[in-house]
Symmetry: C2
Subunit: 565 residues, 2 copies
Amino acid sequence: MSGNLRVLIIGGVACGPKAAARLKRLMPEAEITMLEKGAMVSYGACGLPYYVEGTFSNINALTHTPAGVSRTPEFFRTWKGFQTLTGTEAIAINRHDKQVRVRDLKNGGEEDLPYDKLVLATGGSPFKPPIPGLDLANVWFMTHPDDAASLVAEIERQELKKAVLVGAGFIGLEVAEALINRGLEVTMVEMADHIMPGILDEDIARFAQIHMEDNDVELVLGETVTALEGEGRVQRVVTGKRKIEADFVIVGVGTRPNDVLAREAGLRCEKGIVVNEFCQTSDPDIYAGGDCVSNAYIHRQVGDPLYVPLGSTANKHGRVIANHIAGKPTPFSGITCSSVVRVFDYTLGRTGLSERMAQLLGIDYEVTTWSGQDIPHYMTGSRLFAIKMIASRRDRKVLGVQVAGMGNGAKRLDVAASVIYFGGTLDELADIDFGYAPPFGPPIDPLAVCAHVLTNKLDGLAAGIPPLEAKRLMDTGDCLLLDVRIPDEAKMEWIPHTDMLHIPLSELRERVAELPQDRDILTYCKVSMRGYEAQRILNAAGIDRVRFIEGGVAAWPFETAMPGI
Amino acid sequence: MSGNLRVLIIGGVACGPKAAARLKRLMPEAEITMLEKGAMVSYGACGLPYYVEGTFSNINALTHTPAGVSRTPEFFRTWKGFQTLTGTEAIAINRHDKQVRVRDLKNGGEEDLPYDKLVLATGGSPFKPPIPGLDLANVWFMTHPDDAASLVAEIERQELKKAVLVGAGFIGLEVAEALINRGLEVTMVEMADHIMPGILDEDIARFAQIHMEDNDVELVLGETVTALEGEGRVQRVVTGKRKIEADFVIVGVGTRPNDVLAREAGLRCEKGIVVNEFCQTSDPDIYAGGDCVSNAYIHRQVGDPLYVPLGSTANKHGRVIANHIAGKPTPFSGITCSSVVRVFDYTLGRTGLSERMAQLLGIDYEVTTWSGQDIPHYMTGSRLFAIKMIASRRDRKVLGVQVAGMGNGAKRLDVAASVIYFGGTLDELADIDFGYAPPFGPPIDPLAVCAHVLTNKLDGLAAGIPPLEAKRLMDTGDCLLLDVRIPDEAKMEWIPHTDMLHIPLSELRERVAELPQDRDILTYCKVSMRGYEAQRILNAAGIDRVRFIEGGVAAWPFETAMPGI
């Protein structure tokens, strides 16, 4: 036995079990032990909001395989062939002697476990902001199945009604939907001035906020929570500007890497444990992966390490670690910050750089926003959505894509992630042979159309103005809004402005004389295909100060006007 | 006026209007005329089956813009700025004088229209097989809105019940679904031994056939229709083996390019009009695009021109033509034979090479089939599907992907199309940072998992056997089928075989001695993750003649057994 490789894995969720199972298949003779501090192993934490929503009723489903078998230590021993110790905490790494001091949390007993290769998959913990009241009853963080189980049980037992969610990131949005669908009142407080800060740009986020408010989520943006107050149990959330009544509070303001063990062992850490492309730490016999490490961005476009804890990346790390230990190295290229979330009927997400990141990195970029249907308009289930795309001016490479709306944005995000991974340009993206049939998309895929618009913008053909910039110009400048839709459309819903003109596109060539040469004209239609046509027609007639509002009424991230409102 | 570029476009659907509209935006001064033989222009022919199905009730929706405006000659004149002549047929090209002889089909008058640049977008026509009876009443081809309109009208007027569809390609499958959903009886006759020949491989097609039969489509495969018979109207379809009663017949056995005009003008044609990457024909002042041209495969992997008429490609051609005429050339890289179709609850499709094509091209490839859920099993709407993936042994580049099943295969096809476009390898595919959230996918995307399996196969770790090969071995060889599922699963549905053994994976390590060393063992489970684990366990125990059935019971393309059946 002593000749076999001894692999010790600290952490029993996502990266840990993945590394262990893969390694056992690659090296059947390896002696693999996985430690987990808690009682549960290998649960799908990303499913917690859906348990809260009632999508499934048995919280243990999160530890089940698709065949319905629970992933217990016994499962891992008999099915996967490695040992799992739950209720066991690693308390120190002795790199010199290659052993880990562990404590049995049931009886307090300690021992040293030897390793040839050590894997740190210690995960992350919810960030606890430095405010009073976090320890009041009815305050939850949403990271472990126990949290979701007790939340649901207490909502029912205490008949809780008013929820305040602190933080408008992924978990916040998913839980907001879950609670609204359970019939509760939801107020969401976010320090930043828009939801999903750090993930979505302001324009896309604002567009999504309208949908959340339509679904009765009360958004309190740009306010920092300073305290949770109450007698024994939480009763109020206090911000710099107000007090919000609360029966319960869920705090989701970010995750921090569990890197204390690594730091104490002298391993290099920066925004998490630093690893190379094979997930080796600064000690080559110690690997790390999952929510405890920081990641590199692909193509070195971003210099700083990024902390983006995700189950998808954690599973990749697990495989990369096993492959490297087994002598079959497969480098991990890095992340592109892909993320996606469903909130009510909207799909929101991003892959690659946001516009904000591109600005901070000093990249010379161009950007556009497209909106339209995801499948042909004559098909049932055709839905509107918006795509925001960013490309490098220098080489026309696609840098980032964001989606928001009811349409199938998830498909386009994954395709975009692929294009960005391969360093593809706008022309290449538009050239890909996508599968076409009416149930799945229009003849030219929306992602390709968006790339076309951005190409047109780079070529100086399409003079689009982003919606936020349009709003600023409308609010502060002298500009004329030109609606070129047909009369029936124009009467239903429009972008409100003090100086508006309506000329249907079909009449524009003949009525060009009605338009001023010396003022900024912003054209628009439903999605801005016709807005763009109008811009080209006016340009051809010698009118230069004209731009079309990107995304049209459909993607307008502010209130629109309707008859009688 | 005489100084302006005169562009003549022959053909008013897809490629033609796209080229015209784009060119007018690029060159507002160009004088563009589009000819169309028929009365309708710019209709979405791909939507016809959905009209038959009743998804929408006004056939004119196929010519509407998303804003509900009909694409008439007047529309193109006032909105897009170019002239459209319907009911006008081009009868000859005079390349020397650069003019086209056209005939007004309403009054028979002829005239010559001059051009500086000519665009042939003459489309394709349904192939009419050389059999008697095609001219009987109640026989339809399904290529023009008039066909769909008269079909629906006659089904209702004559109370037609029994449909026979000749040909099991795209249109056949879509129309089969449409007719079944209208409550009709449908028999589908296909000359090849499986549906979608030339698109799907036999295994994937067989898997889909089970679903079609479950939905009451009667499949008659491997039989050639020799005649349609009846008194005035069709009453029977005759094959080499049988006569099938029919109230009506829809023939969909392929499309042929409308290239007569081009041939007569001496332009080079091979499986359609031959064009370069800018869609120029052998006469550089004459462009061609859409269903009248043949296409090149990207990366020169396929030497022969391919005839794959699709609305998506036609629209790309239109843009490429306009860009080249306007002096802003954007090459079209070629197609990857991407296609997708929905039939009942299944999504079927392919991108890249099929296994059959790879064989014919003499490529050294490896292949695998994966099956599983498209999103986590605990989510509502989680659905099974299968992915078949082919990669080059030499450089591990992904060559082709096919999907079939209820799960969201369309997303994975588009991602695969992108990977193949960029010449990506299996490792690169699995490395892409896909957006992850439970409503959209599991932590490791099915496409990445399938790439992992194929990598494992190339590395000699995973000894998968494709289902067709497994069936042949079971039918003709001496082999033991080893089911490693849990007892409850194993009792519900299994792969029938004369020599079967059931040992749950959890007991396999301890019961290895029960297995023979000297026989072929085929392991399997629901999707074959556990089948693979079992193979690795047996290998580790010194048993080498073991393979797992790829895709498991879930993707088994033959009848399975169930209790009492």
